[in-house]
Symmetry: C2
Subunit: 484 residues, 2 copies
């Protein structure tokens, strides 16, 4: 199917974001790196004086002893120490400088390795139940016979009822080799038990396709391990098919590793030009100069407010050094580089710390500003509709957020509701009736759970329709003009 | 004026809460205390093992050194150390265990001493401007000639424009002896300059009055230094006037010092009965037994969701050990005792730490449960109305929170708006027109800034009307029944 990429993406992104909310928005340097060895250029200039003074240490010790000896409840020493570390880092007021305990550090590393341990099924939450959207091909879930639309009721005896999607996902996941006994309901039959042995599940971060036989499109979801290699492979495949223009989609891409994006940009930036610059705490700048060449075809980059960090390095560099057109909405605006210090802590936990700024090839710092598109295009309003709560039947003369979402959906589906401010008036009743008639529902103009569900299914289908993606359409149009 | 107490209270409470949000909700033991010497009974049982292990210290030191040597920006060492302390205390997940830096510690001590340093004027924010509600009698503001309804434009050259009320109050306040040069606008004339020399301003925490010549009412705003003495003096005055029943009002009273409430309860609890019990970290209980007697008159206590800590000790003890009726709404539910450790830190900062539970005379722990009233009474809905944003003229067919607040106010003023869900329908238009006619405004049914302001003034006047306080009325009715 042409558009499955985007659909999968939405769900995957939701799950990933729920898991890594604090750490995924990053631009991490892993291992030794040519731009700036943290041990050298960063601490080479004026540095702090290091360790605690006796007074500082006394204050910390006093606090710790009061907690141990006076506090009403017994305490977990590790939690208190981790609190001290998080507190020190938190005092810097930089959202990208964070402490990760052992478990969070493992998840962060999994993310950078573009893998996680689990059963390998994309799931969504529908009416409070965990539903399989699709098992990933070749995954343990796939092999064990889990199918699309299966409802997962429990995992190893623990019911998933009432959990949020990310809580449920945390129950389903687990370490490689462990068993997940799933109670599964399928198409009205009695629940069955399926045992799945968990394994490493690779995460696809690059997806490509050819549009109208001439415009290649590459979607990048994160910049992690293997992203650069997959990108170069898929780019070559598109070029081999005779691609005449390229659209790179980094919408909702929160970033990842600095090495990855630099490697991906090299073939697009003329030899001798900077791909990116970094500036350390002493104001010293260093350029990463391209050894690559240029591409003969026009390029567009799709951006939005969720394009951060490495995505912005890509958009900025392609715009400034490769003449690419940016299409969509302004980017997030994250202009700093983090380094992780896992070895230094020595117990599997990790500190991720902001150590440098990055600048575009021309030396612009986009932090808290973002990069504006050359061609500004917004998605249709119904992209922002949320599912209705379905707590009550919506009808004439009601008001609120549920009604507002209802109206956005009706409008998007071509049933004008008269207004979209959240008041259920006559025209909204008419629009609901028309929708109900067209979908074989009793045309009473009232939105009960069934009508609400049918509406949400219809709008989801609509969003998956490539025709709805106005930003992509604009980018492809730009490229077709450029080809002529 | 009969009701000025409540009015003053609302504004004062707002200012205080804005300043001490994290610390005012407390039940502090100050100095040596008979119930439980922190140095003895609290740490007498199983205690923690005290100081940092070498591994713990290494992890802390590593983090501190990374911040000093690697972090992008230069940092403030004190801020980082304070962050570590706040982080350790925060890991306990107890909202009442907090670190206060020097300035916050000073404010906390001022609060317990029922004094602050400033000019001594109650102010409110009206249409974005700081307006004097009333100068406190004998205060520097009063002596310098500040009057009710004066608009304060600037302090020592700094404009107050665009600040929140608490931000503005922080600018007006300052240490004893310092000068505040105020630019003041008065009744349309040109701004004048008034210089006020700041001083200690005492905060009244006890207010009393006689209702209908027989029911004494004592309102307690906080339990701090001098509260017990003032309470006993005013109680005696009411008794000397022949009071036949007593209403104690602890609504929106966030607590204060344990000593104060125990001292105030002594005359009400029969000799030999416990006033309150405490339980330390080892589960050991201690009772504070009354040496007092009882009172010959019936008692009611007014409570609501803002009655916390010492207020709950008072309500619980009077209910269980003195037969008092509780009237109003369920209390907050804070059942722990804090001790402050300022000397231990040695630099003027302070740690406030939860060290005990407190229990009612009968041994009930009300923490996170609250105390239910014997006579449940809610205030009228318009007590919960918020000021309108006044960003746009509200009219027929609009919807939202502003309309909802408008409807609550119209309803409270006796102009039924048809609905109070936030949709501006025909009946709301009619109600607005009626209100406008009665107040000499153009009766067009649209709520512009002028109509909005007139409405808010009317509802404020209504709230100050003793007839509106349904909870007080119910308590007084109960007492009159009990007298007969």
């Amino acid at each position: 199917m042409f558009w499955k990429g985007r659909n999968l993406y939405i769900l995957l992104a939701f799950v990933l974001l729920a898991m890594f909310a604090s750490s995924i928005l990053t631009l991490t340097i892993v291992g030794p790196y040519s731009l700036a060895e943290p041990g050298q250029s960063v601490s080479g200039g004026k540095t702090g004086t290091g360790s605690f003074t006796p007074q500082e240490l006394k204050k910390l010790t006093t606090t710790y002893e009061l907690i141990q000896n006076q506090y009403l409840h017994e305490t977990d020493r590790t939690k208190v120490i981790n609190g001290a570390i998080s507190g020190m880092l938190g005092s810097l007021e930089d959202p990208y400088t964070t402490y990760m305990d052992q478990k969070e550090a493992q998840q962060f590393n999994d993310m950078l390795n573009s893998t996680f341990q689990g059963i390998g099924a994309e799931v969504s939450l529908e009416e409070g139940r965990v539903k399989v959207v699709s098992p990933i091909k070749g995954s343990p879930a796939d092999k064990a016979g889990i199918r699309t639309n299966d409802i997962i009721l429990s995992v190893n005896g623990e019911k998933l009822d009432g959990l949020s999607l990310s809580e449920a996902v945390m129950k389903i996941r687990g370490t490689k080799g462990s068993q997940a006994k799933l109670q599964v309901m399928r198409a009205g039959a009695e629940p069955i038990e399926i045992v799945v042995v968990r394994d490493d599940i690779p995460i696809e971060t690059v997806l490509s396709e050819m549009i109208d036989g001439q415009v290649g499109k590459i979607e990048i979801r994160e910049f992690v391990q293997n992203t650069a290699k997959n990108f170069k492979d898929q780019l070559k495949a598109l070029e081999d098919q005779g691609m005449k223009a390229l659209v790179i989609d980094v919408r909702n891409d929160p970033g990842g590793m600095l090495q990855a994006v630099v490697e991906m940009l090299e073939p697009f930036v003329p030899k001798g030009k900077p791909i990116v610059q970094v500036e350390d705490r002493n104001g010293q700048r260093e350029q990463t100069v391209s050894k690559g060449s240029t591409k003969p075809y026009p390029i567009a980059v799709l951006i939005n407010n969720g394009s951060a960090s490495a995505s912005e390095i890509m958009a900025g560099a392609l715009q400034e050094a490769a003449g690419a057109k940016l299409v969509g909405e302004k980017t997030y605006g994250k202009g700093t580089v983090q380094v992780t210090y896992q070895q230094e802590l020595g117990d599997g936990s990790n500190i991720k710390m902001t150590v440098m700024k990055w600048l575009t090839p021309n030396g612009n710092w986009v932090h808290q500003k973002g990069i504006a598109p050359d061609v500004a295009v917004e998605q249709p309003p119904y992209y922002k509709a949320s599912p209705m709560s379905k707590k009550t039947t919506l009808k004439y003369d009601m008001l609120g957020d549920d009604v507002k979402n209802l109206q956005l959906m009706l409008d998007g589906l071509g049933f004008p509701p008269g207004r979209t401010d959240g008041y259920f008036g006559d025209k909204t009743t008419q629009a609901v009736k028309s929708f109900q008639s067209q979908h074989g529902l009793t045309a009473n103009g009232e939105v009960d759970v069934k009508t609400a569900q049918t509406l949400e299914d219809a709008i989801t289908k609509q969003i998956r329709n490539p025709e709805s993606d106005l930003q992509l359409k604009a980018a492809v149009d730009e490229m077709k003009k450029a080809i002529k």
